[in-house]
């Protein structure tokens, strides 16, 4: 399907979800998870101000670098690893087809 990619999300109970994600709606990973009712709060609405969309990128897809805001926010998160990202900062695009992420533990 045009403008659609596959995204795999492992939730906090280790269940693997296969999501169909649009690349032409300016959507990010946080919004995608929420639209599928996955347990991502998205408290701040996507401003990189809450870390509730903290996830680990398991596949080797190349993403844009973490911004300063994202780094700052990850400073206030826990269980941060090298592959940690804020879902709201990952824009869905065609080169992310078959990306796999795991939701990080929350508080």
């Amino acid at each position: 399907m045009e403008n659609m990619i596959k995204v795999f999300v492992i939730d906090r109970d280790d269940n693997r979800h296969e999501l169909d994600a649009p690349t032409d709606m300016n959507m990010n990973m946080m919004e995608l998870c929420r639209s599928y009712d996955l347990p991502v709060e998205g408290t701040c609405g996507g401003m990189a101000m809450c870390a509730s969309c903290h996830m680990y990128v398991l596949s080797s897809h190349k993403l844009t670098e973490r911004s300063e805001d994202e780094e700052d926010m990850l400073d206030e998160a826990f269980f941060v690893e090298d592959n940690s990202r804020l879902g709201c900062q990952i824009k869905l695009a065609s080169d992310l087809d078959r990306i796999e992420v795991k939701l990080a533990p929350v508080g």
Binding site: T43, M47, M49, E71, D75, E76, F78, F79, P105
Partner: protein, 335 residues
């Protein structure tokens, strides 16, 4: 006991605007908020962010929105209980609600308007097993009185202004030893504060431990040491009297969850006729409520506040007729 007409839980934009609409009907309001300043998320999380969807403002900074709301409600002299969390709600013999905060402050009103947004801002607690058993026994999340740390060994965790400022302050002849632990090597605070911390570290006046985080705490009743794990160098123990984790605040529904209200996905269900909850006399407006079609927008909360206040008036004065008067007719508002 503080007596008022409408007790507003939450002093964010919707709670603040409620004071205005209530004031037009000559109803007095008092607000409770766990933050030390009004404005809710707008003042606490994103004061410098521009908001583009407040009617009549092509752009307005969240902090400025708070200031303008405070100015708008000033003529109505609302009362504020800040830095305290609404905990317990009871009803007295005359049918009025009594809300007590976590500091014991009591408020009495016939109407409660819950405008708590996403919930009560609480310090982010690091995921350490026995953390709670050391709270107030060496672990603190807020520094209320720096004198408390005089002559003591202190470990501070964090990378922002709070951590930097307190490190600088306590290292200046207050604490006997200050250690600052941060996960990265770069800090995100004010450049002057960062520089000061670097200078102190170089002069040997503080221990600066970067690329590290506290992963364990221990002590005999009271805190005696923290375990600090370096990214690559393993774990070591640092003796300390206090550990102050400063990882910012995050909102939690909190005690409101126990108030016998119908809650769905951390939001309070309301009737869109007047934003009343399942408990007569208690309303919920703004991000804290939910109903079919709900949008979590400030401007929606403003509308909900306006309709809610009309209903509140009819509950307080069931025998009086309410006539909608435009402010263009009544003139500049004020009691």
């Amino acid at each position: 006991m503080i007596q008022t007409d409408i007790l507003i839980v939450g002093a964010g934009p919707c709670g603040l605007f409620t004071v205005f609409e209530a004031g037009l009907l000559k109803l007095k309001c008092h607000l409770i908020d766990s933050l030390p300043q009004p404005g809710g998320q707008c003042s606490e999380i994103y004061p410098k962010k521009p908001i583009y969807d407040i009617p009549a403002y092509p752009t307005i900074l969240a902090g400025d929105l708070t200031n303008r709301l405070m100015e708008q409600i000033k003529p109505f002299s609302p009362g504020f209980t800040l830095g305290e969390r609404a905990e317990v709600i009871e009803k007295d013999d005359e049918g009025q609600f009594i809300v007590t905060t976590n500091r014991g402050t009591k408020h009495r009103a016939p109407i409660i308007a819950i405008a708590a947004g996403l919930g009560c801002f609480e310090p982010r607690k690091p995921p350490i097993d026995n953390l709670e058993s050391f709270e107030d026994k060496g672990v603190e999340y807020i520094i209320k009185d720096p004198e408390f740390y005089r002559g003591k060994k202190v470990v501070i965790s964090g990378g922002g202004d709070s951590a930097l400022d307190w490190t600088n302050f306590l290292a200046d002849g207050v604490a006997s030893e200050v250690t600052l632990v941060h996960r990265r090597t770069s800090f995100r605070g004010h450049p002057d504060s960062v520089q000061k911390v670097m200078d102190l570290a170089e002069a040997g006046k503080i221990n600066l431990v970067t690329n590290s985080e506290v992963v364990g705490i221990s002590g005999d009743g009271n805190l005696q040491s923290v375990e600090v794990k370096h990214k690559s160098d393993g774990i070591r123990s640092i003796e300390t009297d206090h550990w102050i984790p400063l990882f910012g605040l995050s909102p939690k529904l909190g005690p409101i969850g126990e108030w016998n209200l119908n809650i769905s996905k951390n939001a309070i269900e309301v009737d869109t006729l007047d934003y009343s909850t399942n408990v007569p006399g208690i309303y919920a407006i703004g991000d804290i409520n939910t109903y079919p079609g709900k949008l979590k927008l400030i401007l929606c909360g403003f509308h909900e506040a306006t309709l809610m206040v009309q209903s509140a008036y009819k509950r307080i004065y069931p025998d009086k007729n309410l006539v909608l008067k435009y402010t263009t007719v009544t003139g500049k508002p004020g009691i």
